[in-house]
């Protein structure tokens, strides 16, 4: 058992992947000399050389597209995009090419590409570096969307994503990079298609992922002191959504709150509510509630940023209201 940060776990995953498979390489803005905007790839250039740790120009569309092309050409590229906001410059390549080529070619070509990017707010980076747009990507058939919220997932999801023959987008919440904890020395690959119950409970299901998992677990601890036994589900995979795990939980608790740093309108949280209505309507004893980011571009000042984001008090309040509701 070693102690490391989420960032270290990601770096270890990269190192293992690069050592294991000569087809794997990393490219993106400042992944080499600079060591990665979030220092995930620090040291990898010295270890693996400039052929496999490639600094790119600020050309998101082209280096993401080149990742698709290299994947078509037999490589296993990892493309790092600095933040989800910047990935919008590569949206054409992700949505029109990576997601479509297998289907459009009648299954002749697949795109074994991994795209990693930082997402989420909490570091006063304002409205062009801090949005949570992973829910948008989860709208698109043809790609997989995962969000590691733990050290084990940070280390293990990359491995599995690289073995997937289709494009996988990994969303790393920027507040998690410094999260530190113990991890088994032999931590290995994990599945990338199932949700996990992080805290079992019987009174209410709190459904979340990524950067809000910690806040939700914190809220669950507070609720426990009030005698409310909350179950916390970490979605892990945003596309596909593991509905059986979610529905099983709701069938047990009959109540649900979704915590998502995305906005509510037209969102992943809306999708989960809709599917619960479709698949578990008669198991629900109360309306489903959502705790999401306020519908504003993320503001710079800390007090406003904090007020915009889902916080434990709001999660606790929503859970209490749902539990208090008599069905």
């Amino acid at each position: 058992m070693a102690t490391m940060t989420y960032r270290d776990a990601l770096r270890t995953a990269h190192r293992e992947a690069l050592a294991r498979d000569p087809r794997v390489f990393l490219m993106g803005e400042d992944v080499g000399n600079y060591g990665g905007a979030y220092a995930v790839s620090k040291g990898l250039l010295a270890e693996f050389g400039p052929e496999r740790i490639r600094d790119t120009p600020l050309s998101e569309s082209t280096f993401v597209g080149a990742g698709i092309g290299a994947a078509l050409g037999g490589m296993r590229p990892i493309v790092e995009v600095m933040t989800v906001n910047f990935s919008l410059l590569a949206l054409d390549q992700i949505v029109n090419n990576a997601a479509t080529i297998r289907h459009m070619s009648g299954g002749q070509f697949s795109v074994p590409l991994v795209i990693r990017m930082a997402t989420g707010a909490g570091r006063q980076l304002a409205a062009q570096h801090a949005h949570s747009l992973e829910g948008w990507y989860a709208h698109i058939p043809g790609i997989r969307i995962v969000a590691p919220a733990t050290l084990e997932d940070a280390r293990g999801m990359l491995w599995t994503a690289l073995e997937d023959p289709d494009p996988v987008l990994i969303f790393e919440h920027q507040a998690l990079y410094n999260m530190e904890g113990p991890i088994a020395d032999d931590a290995g690959p994990v599945d990338i298609d199932r949700a996990v119950v992080r805290r079992p409970g019987k009174d209410i299901s709190l459904i979340t992922y990524g950067g809000t998992l910690g806040k939700t677990l914190q809220a669950a601890d507070t609720l426990a002191r009030d005698g409310i036994d909350a179950e916390v589900i970490d979605l892990r995979s945003l596309r596909p959504l593991d509905m059986p795990t979610i529905v099983d939980s709701v069938k047990k608790t009959h109540r649900a709150v979704i915590v998502d740093e995305g906005w509510k309108s037209g969102s992943l949280s809306a999708e989960i509510v809709a599917r619960l209505v479709e698949q578990a309507f008669y198991d629900l004893d109360a309306p489903v509630a959502r705790v999401c980011t306020a519908e504003v571009p993320i503001p710079y000042p800390k007090h406003l940023e904090d007020a915009a984001l889902p916080q434990p008090p709001a999660i606790i309040a929503a859970a209490r209201e749902v539990v208090g509701h008599r069905g």
Partner: protein, 333 residues
């Protein structure tokens, strides 16, 4: 006329005729409702795809646009499978999933058929990167039009390919119009080779209406690209005789201009050159044309006899089927 002999000249003529007659039939089939969606014809530009493909080996890759029937045929995708794709039949080269704009063929290393202008360029850069990283002496030929030059992806891709010395052959088919917008109305600098040279790669304009000129230029630069000297750019000056697509009333150009370019019809002028040199006679050309008409007819029959993919297959190939996932080693509560 050409250093490679009469037989080669005849072969080039045959290849151009196959594209011309195939597409004339497609236009007919479109009117008959057999082909739907958008249909963009390459008629008038056949010399570009046919000439350029002569520089490629079977191991090289081709990236093309939505006006790619000519490239597909010149690359060797069987005409019957291409016609079946036009119909949307399961026997098509993309199994009917793509249609006219999305031709794919793994055997021919034909990577589409891309209908987002400029969107194929980054993919070509990536294919070339994969070749370099796997030490394969291959070339990726990337076709695009003058319209793509206005896209950011053009500039990003030219820069990255040159920066990393990747074996991409950028083949810009300048037919003067981006849909209905003439080059001068879209570009502050209409010398397209100049743009490419600013990225430190060799670039030159070529008479795209002359199949021999296209072949010679492409072969010359492709060899340098293959030797590892980095990417190269050719501006292939050509003209589309037909409308942009079947829905285009052609309000943006004069009929006189079209007629003037038709005087330079690449098939007509090349046929005349072959006859002048005594390589062919009108009878031989007529016989060649008749054999092409037969091939087109057989392709139509193949497409007509093709099958519709069962609706139960609708969701197939959105993802690769059943990827085995590792047992969860960690991660459970």
């Amino acid at each position: 006329m050409n250093p490679t002999g009469d037989e080669h000249g005849l072969r080039l003529l045959h290849k151009m005729l196959r594209i011309r007659r195939f597409e004339e039939k497609c236009a007919e089939l479109y009117s008959a409702g057999k082909i739907r969606g958008f249909l963009h014809l390459y008629i008038g530009e056949e010399s570009v795809a046919v000439g350029a493909m002569q520089a490629l080996t079977r191991d090289d890759a081709v990236m093309a646009t939505y006006r790619e029937h000519g490239h597909a045929l010149a690359r060797g995708i069987p005409m019957d499978r291409l016609m079946a794709e036009m119909y949307g039949k399961h026997e098509g080269c993309s199994h009917g999933r793509g249609g006219s704009m999305h031709v794919f063929d793994a055997t021919a290393r034909f990577y589409g058929g891309h209908a987002i202008v400029g969107g194929g360029l980054p993919l070509a850069v990536g294919l070339a990167l994969a070749d370099v990283m796997q030490h394969r002496p291959r070339v990726t030929a990337c076709f695009f039009g003058d319209g793509a030059v206005a896209e950011g992806e053009f500039h990003e891709s030219m820069n990255l390919a040159a920066l990393w010395k990747l074996p991409v052959l950028f083949l810009c088919e300048n037919n003067l119009y981006a849909m209905g917008t003439r080059l001068e109305r879209a570009q502050s600098q209409i010398d397209l080779a100049l743009k490419a040279r600013s990225y430190q790669m060799p670039a030159e304009p070529v008479d795209g209406m002359d199949v021999i000129a296209v072949e010679a230029a492409t072969k010359r630069v492709a060899e340098a690209v293959r030797r590892g000297e980095g990417p190269a750019f050719l501006e292939l000056r050509t003209y589309r005789f037909r409308a942009h697509s079947m829905f285009d009333p052609e309000l943006y150009r004069d009929k006189a201009e079209v007629e003037l370019w038709k005087q330079r019809d690449p098939i007509m002028t090349f046929t005349a050159r072959l006859e002048e040199r005594g390589v062919t006679t009108p009878e031989m050309v007529a016989a060649l044309d008749a054999s092409v008409a037969d091939e087109v007819e057989r392709a139509v029959q193949f497409a007509e006899a093709g099958t519709w993919e069962p609706v139960e297959h609708l969701l197939r190939d959105v993802y690769t089927p059943a990827v085995p996932q590792p047992a969860r080693v960690n991660g459970a509560a």
